[in-house]
Structure formats: structure tokens, C-alpha cells
Amino acid sequence: MSLGVRDILNKPRLLPGTSACPGCPENIALKSISMALGENAVFIVVAGCSSIIQGMGPKSTYNYPVLNIAFAAGPAAAAGMAKAFKMRNKNIKPVVWAGDGGTADIGFASLSGAAERNDNILYICVDNEAYMNTGGHRSGSTPFGAKTASTPGGKKENKKDLPLIMMAHHIPYVATASVGYLHDLMEKVKKARSIEGFTYIQVLTPDPYGWMFDPSKTAEVGKLAVQTCYWPLIEYENGKLTISQESMHCLDRRTRKPIDEFLKIQGRYKGVSPEIVKGLEEYIDRMWERIKSIYEGKVIL
């Protein structure tokens, strides 16, 4: 695959000089997504790192119309906004920008409500697998065994399967992406934007400070998550699941990279016990069994 920017050549609408930590994966995601979206977008940013990343008023480094909003309110605000633009005959699909805490936990009712109503929204969940803005506390999207500020002994429960939950809402489009694979992410954003109704993309955004790795490795960790099949790249469109090229090898256990390669680079899994590694491997196996069943049409959602 060429590393050229191909046909996605909109100017990035993230302005330099943000308040993000160096190597921030959310910034990488926002920048690429803005290149895919182009000009005609409005962002609703729920509480999280991105509330701060924009910078200090009266300046904002997000070169979009932005509505900042309380933690649990993003999808509902976007729903209202979508209707308002419709009443004003403007073809704008509001974009909700939320972290995994805002998606899996506190904002879940609002997310589910807007999805069930199939409001015309593009929902982006930037999943760094914890409440990073407060100092890295476990969320419903934190994986098994990960050490966080509120689970210093490692999380005891598995990561919530948000993409599957969203598929069960029968919305027209669900996809996952990773900041390790930006072309894939941009293609998915372009597609989601063109579809009428509720579209959901969950982007894995490995956080150097919460996951404890060298910030220069952000893209690599994003790639390793996919290569070890910890994070699947999939699309679910009109009831049909497809697996992105980067994840096809995960269908067969034997072609998966060992999970250890993903874990050893992160401080949150430092000194991890073999039981936890085994637990994560089982989690990955079960996840891919599910994905495979849906992919092969054995399970219809």
C-alpha cells in the first residue's frame, strides 16, 4: 500500500499548537478524520481530553464549528442539531467526538437512544481504553488485566464490546479503525459520512501516557493492536459484516501475531502474570469467533 495521501486530500483542520500531550493519538485521529470530512462538518465534543486539547479560549485549534458539551449529552445534542440543520435545509451531518468513557459508560444511554432513533449523526468514539483526561481511570472499555489509576492491581473484567452493541441497534453503519492505519480510518469516515442515519466508528487511540509507552511509538502500538488481533478492523453495513484487509489474517488463529508483542511494549501490562495473558488470549479468541460467525452469516444480528 502506498503511503501517499491518495484521493483524500482535504486540508487538515487541526491547527498547530494544541493542548494535547506530545504524540497524542486523538490528535492523529482528528487530523485524519478532518481530512476525510472536509469542510462541511460540525463537531460536538463531549467532556474528555478533547475538551482541553482544543486549547484556551478565545482560541480554538479545532478549525470547525464546535459545540462543547457535558459528558453524557453528546448524541442527544447531535440529534437536535441534525434536526435543526434539516429545518434550515443544510446538508450537515453532525459529528460526535467522544472518548470511551463518554461512550461506554456515562454517555451510553444517550448513545443508545440516538442510535435507536437512527438520528443522522456520525459518532466517533476515540477509544484510549480509560478516562485519560482525569489521570487514567478504568472505563467500561478498559481491557482485562490493564493497570489503571483506579485498578492498580489490573482490571478484573473484560472490555465492553461496543461495536457489537452498536450493531445490535440495527444502525446502517458500524466500523472500527485504529490510528495505526489512517487510510483505512479515512475511507471509513468518508463512507460513514455519505450514509444517511446513525453511523458509528470506534477508533483505537493508544495513549502513550495511560498505556505507558514512548510517545513516538503511538502509530506502532496502533498497528500492533491490529496485527495481534487484539483490535479488529471491521465494517458492518446494512446487516453485512466485512473484515478490513489489515485484519483478515485474524480469522485464522495460526496467522495471528502473539499478543505478547502488543503487551510487552506497554507499561500498563508490565510484569503481567501468565493468567492475564491467557485471559486476554481467550478474550481475543472469543471475539474472533463472534466476528467470524457474523462474517460468515451464521449469526444474523
Binding site: N40, G55, M56, V66, A73, A84, D119
Partner: protein, 398 residues
């Protein structure tokens, strides 16, 4: 021109007011006793009488978020709630006020649990008085309609740019059907200009609403809200006068609050909401008995018309404040406000009518007489027949 009148409830009157105000996005979520405002609006929408989008949200928090999102995109919006719903919205209510986006909401007032209670009181409404919303309270279905239409114009005034809620006693007003004069669309259009707001989300001219600011800026924003609230008093009066002239000339909106037979009064009753009508009746009856008494009806909790209260009530020998809400251990909210406004006047407060306890004219009359005789020392009042009832509540037993 002959005005059209109909016998309708407070809820129906409000729904008509919303429709006449050309609202474009409405978020609806059911909670007694406001539910049939939103049912009416949904029905109007489905019949094609209302050119608006109706969003059936999954919670009150989302209801306020949805109208906030829509309003920030530049259209007139509306929602309604009560009780637990208002409390669930609380976070968004503050968020909206801080962002200075005009929004109008109705609160069909109702008690707050636990225990469950669906009946009228004002505690839910009064619990939002520090949020930065303008807060008016109706005493009749007519006033609920009038204030709803005025609320859009007031909140969208450039001197104000704050959201506004209109309270209405749950059941007592929301469900009471009585004659209401309904303005024509032309009359309302001549009064209410197209939507105005300080900024709109638009890709052609991007703004970022509500990102982080330095402490000094934040404090300036808060100060600005404070001044806008103070300046809204003049705006409310001007708009009230214009409303009387152009829309429904049956109410009196040239002042924030209503004064009844206060000029030569030695004593005054202070109240808010539907029971103020009963209190007026009491004033008439006591005047017939030679007691010089009047009524001051609070219509606006925010802004608080300090100057008018000082002018109208500052010289009274005694003031009795009736409250349908309480700050535990301190007393009724209106009483506390009055006391802060007139520290040197003899003011007593009575908390009563909570959780739907019916307070009739006779109760208000006996309370007032006791007060004038100097027997009331600030208290909780139970109607006479209730005192005889053995409370069925369990008591704490060691």
C-alpha cells in the same frame, strides 16, 4: 377585532403558545404533569399543523441536550419537564445558561421524591433559581400561554441572551380547563421577530462554543450573566407592554410582579402561582371586614425585582409569605428572598401545600388572620382537617 377564546387547560395553552411562536425543534420526554403539552405538540406535528421536528429523546438530560444542540444550530427550540425530570436535567440547565443560548422550557411543578409524589409543589422549580435561567411563574392558563410567547422574545433579546423557564402549578394549572384568549398567528408574528441568538454554529463561519477559558475570563462570563439578568428587568417590562398592545390585552405585563390592593395596605400577603388567586379572594374578604391588606404576587423569581418589592412592600406593618417549597432548616424560598430584600420589615413565612396538600381560600384566610393577630411566628401549616388525621407514616423505633 374579536378575540378567540377557548376553554382549555394550562398544558394545552402552553402547547398553543409554542406553536404560535414558530418553534422549529422540540424534544419530548414524558413526565407527569407536563406530559400532555408534549402529546399535544406531537399530535400537531403529525397533523401537519406544526412546522417543527419533534425528537422523542430517551431522558430529560437528553431533552435539554437535544434542544441545546438544535438551538446552537440557529433555530427556536422548546421542551418541558417537571420534578425528577428537571432534576435529571440539572447539569444541562446550567450548561445551557452558561453558553448563553436562548431556550424556552415549561416546568409543570411537582414534588420531588423520595417518597414518590406526583402532586404540586414548587421545590423542583425553585431548585434551579441559581442556574442563570430567567424564571417566570404563571397563575392561570392564560398567563402560561402569554408568558410562553413572551419568553421567546425576552430570552432572545440581545440585552438578555439567557434561557427562560416558565413554571406552572402541576395539575392545578396544567390540568385546569378555563377560558383562554388565543392570539392569532398574525398577532404573534407582529410581536415575535425571527430567532436571534449571540452566535450560530455554521461551517462557513466556525466558532467553538464552550471550550476552556482562563479563570479571569470565566469570572467575566459569570459577571456578564449577572448583569444580563439585572438588565432583563427593563426588557421584560418593555416586552410585556408590547405584548399587551399587540397580542392579548387581557393580562397585565407592564411589571414583573403583580400588586393587588397594596397602595393603602398595612399588611401584605406574598405568594406565587395558582393559589395567588385564592389569596386575592381572601384579600377582598378581609377588606370587607375592614382589614387593610393587599397581595403581592411573584411572577418572576429571576430576575428578582428588588426595587419594586422595596417600593411596594417596604412600608408595610407586616408581610406574610406563602411558600410551596422549602429549604430545609431555613424556610420557604420566597420568604428567604423577601427577608433578604427587606431586612427591617416584619416578615413571616409559612411553608404549606407541599406534595399536593390542598390549600383552600379558608386556609389562607385563617392563616392571614392569625398573622395579623400576631399569632403566627413562621411555621409549617397543615389545613385543619389534616391535623385531625392520624398520620399513617411509620415512626422511627429504636
Amino acid at each position: 377585532m374579536k378575540m378567540i377564546s377557548k376553554v382549555i387547560s394550562g398544558n394545552e395553552a402552553v402547547a398553543l403558545g409554542v406553536k404560535l411562536s414558530r418553534v422549529k425543534v422540540i424534544a419530548i420526554y414524558p413526565i407527569t404533569p407536563q406530559t400532555y403539552i408534549i402529546e399535544e405538540l406531537a399530535a400537531m406535528r403529525d397533523k401537519g399543523e406544526l412546522d417543527a421536528e419533534v425528537i422523542r429523546v430517551e431522558s430529560e438530560h437528553s431533552a435539554m441536550a437535544a434542544v441545546y444542540g438544535a438551538a446552537s444550530a440557529g433555530v427556536r427550540v422548546y421542551t418541558a419537564t417537571a420534578s425528577q425530570g428537571l432534576l435529571y436535567m440539572h447539569e444541562m440547565i446550567w450548561w445551557v445558561a452558561g453558553s448563553r443560548i436562548p431556550i424556552v422550557m415549561t416546568v409543570g411543578t411537582r414534588a420531588v421524591g423520595a417518597p414518590w409524589n406526583i402532586w404540586n409543589e414548587h421545590t423542583d422549580f425553585m431548585s434551579e433559581r441559581d442556574s442563570g435561567w430567567l424564571m417566570a411563574f404563571a397563575s392561570t392558563p392564560q398567563e402560561a400561554l402569554d408568558l410562553t410567547i413572551q419568553a421567546f422574545k425576552i430570552s432572545e433579546d440581545e440585552k438578555v441572551f439567557l434561557p427562560m423557564m416558565v413554571g406552572m402549578d402541576g395539575f392545578i394549572l396544567s390540568h385546569t380547563k378555563t377560558r383562554v384568549y388565543i392570539p392569532s398567528q398574525e398577532e404573534v408574528d407582529s410581536f415575535l421577530p425571527p430567532r436571534k441568538q449571540p452566535y450560530v454554529l455554521d461551517p462557513e463561519d466556525p466558532v467553538d462554543i464552550g471550550n476552556m477559558f482562563q479563570p479571569i475570563d470565566y469570572m467575566k462570563f459569570r459577571h456578564s450573566m449577572h448583569l444580563a439578568m439585572l438588565n432583563s428587568k427593563e426588557v421584560i417590562k418593555e416586552i410585556g407592554k408590547e405584548y399587551e398592545k399587540k397580542v392579548v390585552p387581557v393580562g397585565s405585563y407592564s411589571s414583573l410582579n403583580e400588586s393587588y390592593k397594596l397602595d393603602d395596605a398595612e399588611y401584605a400577603l406574598v405568594s406565587m402561582g395558582a393559589w395567588s388567586l385564592d389569596a386575592m379572594q381572601v384579600v377582598d374578604e378581609l377588606r370587607n371586614m375592614g382589614v387593610k391588606i393587599g397581595l403581592y404576587r411573584i411572577r418572576y423569581v429571576r430576575p428578582w425585582d428588588e426595587e419594586d418589592i422595596k417600593r411596594k412592600l417596604g412600608d408595610k406593618d407586616g408581610i406574610l409569605v406563602l411558600d410551596r417549597s422549602v429549604s430545609f432548616g431555613r424556610g420557604g424560598h420566597l420568604y428567604l428572598e423577601l427577608k433578604a430584600t427587606l431586612p427591617d420589615v416584619n416578615i413571616k413565612g409559612v411553608v404549606t401545600g407541599l406534595g399536593g396538600v390542598a390549600i383552600n381560600k379558608d386556609s389562607i384566610s385563617s392563616l392571614t388572620k392569625k398573622f395579623i393577630e400576631g399569632k403566627t411566628d413562621g411555621e409549617w401549616f397543615y389545613p385543619s382537617e389534616v391535623e385531625k388525621v392520624e398520620l399513617r407514616s411509620p415512626r422511627y423505633i429504636k
